[in-house]
């Protein structure tokens, strides 16, 4: 029994707060997280509006341009889907890792290495049919990304290096590696630019009747599969349990460190897959367009999707719509990309802040109920 100073004064509150219709609606909104997410996004857009005003534009007009350019036009839809593909694929891997409490911040490096291994394999396989090259390239990309993730995982699991530090420092090693690879061993001798040869026959074909490459389908197949694994399999259960209490998992279910290792390698593999898809579907070469920050944006995608595959999917679509629209706004209105990136980071901060406030409300509520119940059970207890 806890000594709560106001334990005797709350029984009436217990009954009133329990039956109040407004509060149940509020609570349902809080529980599902949609209210929180919507509130955070609106708050971030308001802050963004201040920045837009400062630049000298009308925020409503800018947001209208972003919305229409990304969602109300066919080309906008296409660009949104194509951009959402790498973000969503990486985001799902990160969501798995984050859900288990394993912080993979280095997806950018894993994507880079995935793209490098993919172009290396694709280059030597040019004689084969397209489908074979694509499958080989995808597998090579995944292997490269998984390798880069596994190095960080090895340092994390074997040497107890903080996962954030290990994965992130590996990015700073991957970037010079990329620069060297396109300058020396994989450089296209036909140009002076530091870039690789094109993927040639390894280019992803478009979905019939559209101009959207088939890599988008990878995301659409991955999302339900990842959601199923997370919710209905033993592996998914272990991930969720690891996030809640890793020591319980280590005591009963899994060798210590095994799950973090697998998750870092797996999220690396998905980042590598995204690296290949972006290479063979959009960029066509490895070069300056390879490392453009998808690995970092995908962190935001995973957090906004609240580490759930379905949520990640919508977060990826939403965020890439925002980016596509913002790029259009940048072309027509001269708005800097950094503005959009600032707003995205503000969304993240507001979401975690909102989550904390939400938990505080829930905690207060449950403590009040506990105190009130205790008071009802023991009416004679002194305050």
């Amino acid at each position: 029994m806890r000594d709560s100073p106001n334990a005797t004064s709350t029984p009436t509150e217990l009954t009133t707060s329990g039956s109040h219709p407004g509060s149940t609606l509020l609570r349902r909104g809080l529980q599902s997280g949609t209210l929180l997410l919507a509130g955070s996004v609106v708050a971030a857009l308001l802050v963004g509006a201040i920045l837009i005003l400062w630049v000298g534009e009308n925020p409503l007009y800018v947001y209208w341009v972003i919305l229409t350019q990304s969602l109300f036009e066919a080309s906008g839809w296409r660009d949104t889907l194509i951009l959402a593909t790498p973000l969503g694929i990486i985001g799902i891997g990160l969501a798995y890792a984050f859900r288990a409490g394993v912080w993979n911040i280095g997806a950018e490096g894993q994507l880079i290495v995935g793209a490098i291994t993919a172009i290396a394999v694709v280059s030597v396989m040019q004689g084969f049919p397209g489908a074979v090259i694509i499958v080989a390239g995808l597998l090579a990309g995944m292997a490269g990304g998984a390798l880069w993730g596994a190095i960080a995982a090895f340092l994390h699991v074997r040497f107890a290096v903080n996962a954030v530090i290990a994965t992130l420092l590996m990015v700073f090693i991957a970037e010079p590696l990329l620069n060297w690879v396109v300058r020396v061993p994989l450089k296209d001798p036909a140009t002076f630019l530091p870039q690789s040869r094109t993927v040639g026959n390894g280019a992803l074909p478009d979905i019939l009747g559209t101009d959207i490459h088939i890599g988008v389908l990878f995301l659409f197949m991955l999302v339900p599969f990842a959601a199923w694994v997370m919710s209905y399999t033993r592996f998914g259960y272990l991930i969720r349990a690891h996030g809640a209490n890793r020591f319980a998992v280590y005591a009963n279910e899994s060798r210590p460190g095994r799950l973090p290792f697998m998750l870092l390698a797996m999220s690396g593999a998905l980042a590598g897959a995204a690296g290949f898809i972006q290479l063979a579907g959009v960029q066509m070469r490895v070069g300056s367009g390879t490392a453009v920050g998808f690995g970092y944006t995908a962190i935001i995608v995973a957090i906004l999707g609240r580490n759930r595959p379905i949520g990640v999917f919508f977060a990826a679509i939403g965020l890439s719509a925002m980016l596509v629209g913002a790029e259009a706004a940048q072309r027509s209105l001269g708005l800097p990309v950094a503005l959009t990136q600032s707003i995205q980071a503000i969304v993240v901060i507001f979401v975690v802040a909102g989550e904390a406030i939400e938990q505080r409300i829930v905690r207060r509520e449950s403590e009040r109920i506990a105190a009130a119940t205790a008071a009802q059970l023991n009416p004679g207890t002194p305050a």
Binding site: W54, I173, W180
Partner: protein, 317 residues
């Protein structure tokens, strides 16, 4: 004969490398010392890089507009403390997730300063330059072989950083408040029972840590470079977090780690221009590779503060 010649060259070479190493260690070391303070109170600030950029940019603007780099450094310190107070409000008072909030701050810092720089200073490839503090050359001492150049012929900001480092080492060695700081980071319940407010100590430590991180950003941008560019810290804030682990949460160890990183960074610059068989990109990656290996060897023996990233709840709350 040839050996002697190489020796003479290499002493001069190492003297300049060491001097450059001290210069490059200044900012990253100061940021790591700041991060150490809040981590010892149990607060992980992954947004260190963002704090450095925001405070560094503010400091640059102050320095550029007034022509006084020292004012710029002060502004960097104050803005760092302010950002730290906001961060502490989120993670200490509201108990928001430290990892996610810190990452948000890091991402925000890069994007927001890029935005401000573009709006205010055009954001071009030839950024405007602000004056930087000069160097102090101490006669006679600066001619000491090998070490003279690095210790007695440095930029004034380097002396400032060394002074603050020594101050911190002494203060943390002897102070009653060090015990309170460590108690809050190791055993917050005990600190609470002893009558110390865990929230207050964590808040103050986070503000103090961010103030030093802000100063670190200003030391780099205002004190050494004199100009601003998008993401000019290039991940130094994250290296600083690694250095805290390497230095095992002790100021002397962190200063040593910063020096090691600085010297490697200096070597990297020099090796890039040498015509070796090894590609220069390897040398760019080298400081990070060594940091990673050093942290790997340090992490097993190092024990982070027990309550790091774990929010504290009082029973009665």
């Amino acid at each position: 004969m040839i050996i002697a010649e190489v020796d003479i060259i290499s002493i001069a070479f190492w003297a300049t490398v060491l001097a450059a190493g001290v210069r490059l260690a200044v900012s990253v070391g100061m940021a790591a010392l700041g991060e150490m303070i809040n981590e010892r109170a149990g607060v992980l600030n992954l947004g260190l890089d963002g704090v450095m950029l925001i405070a560094g940019f503010a400091g640059f603007a102050a320095s550029f507009e007034t022509g006084s780099p020292w004012l710029g450094l002060l502004v960097g310190l104050i803005v760092g403390a302010t950002v730290g107070a906001l961060f502490a409000q989120l993670v200490v008072v509201l108990r928001a997730d430290q990892v996610v909030t810190g990452l948000g701050l890091a991402l925000f810092g890069v994007a927001f300063t890029a935005f401000l720089n573009r709006e205010i200073y055009g954001g071009g490839s030839t950024p405007p330059r602000a004056p930087i503090p000069g160097t102090w050359e101490i006669p006679i001492l600066k001619d000491i072989p090998l070490l003279g150049q690095s210790l007695f012929s440095q930029s004034q900001v380097a002396y400032l950083a060394i002074f603050i480092t020594i101050l911190l080492i002494v203060f943390l060695q002897r102070s009653y408040w060090t015990i309170v700081l460590d108690a809050v980071g190791e055993e917050p319940r005990a600190a609470d029972a002893a009558g110390h407010s865990v929230v207050a100590v964590q808040f103050i430590a986070t503000v103090a840590g961010s103030a030093l991180a802000g100063l670190a950003g200003a030391l780099l941008i205002v004190g050494q470079l004199g100009f601003f560019n998008t993401n000019i810290t290039a991940g130094r804030g994250f290296v600083a977090i690694a250095l805290v682990i390497f230095g095992r949460w002790r100021p002397a160890g962190i200063a040593l780690g910063a020096l090691l990183f600085g010297v490697l960074d200096a070597l990297q610059f020099r090796f890039q221009t040498l015509d070796t068989a090894i590609p220069f990109e390897f040398f760019i990656a080298l400081p990070f590779i060594v940091t990673l290996i050093a942290v790997a060897f340090g992490s097993r023996r190092a024990r982070e503060p027990s309550a790091l990233t774990i929010p504290f709840f009082r029973d009665t709350e």
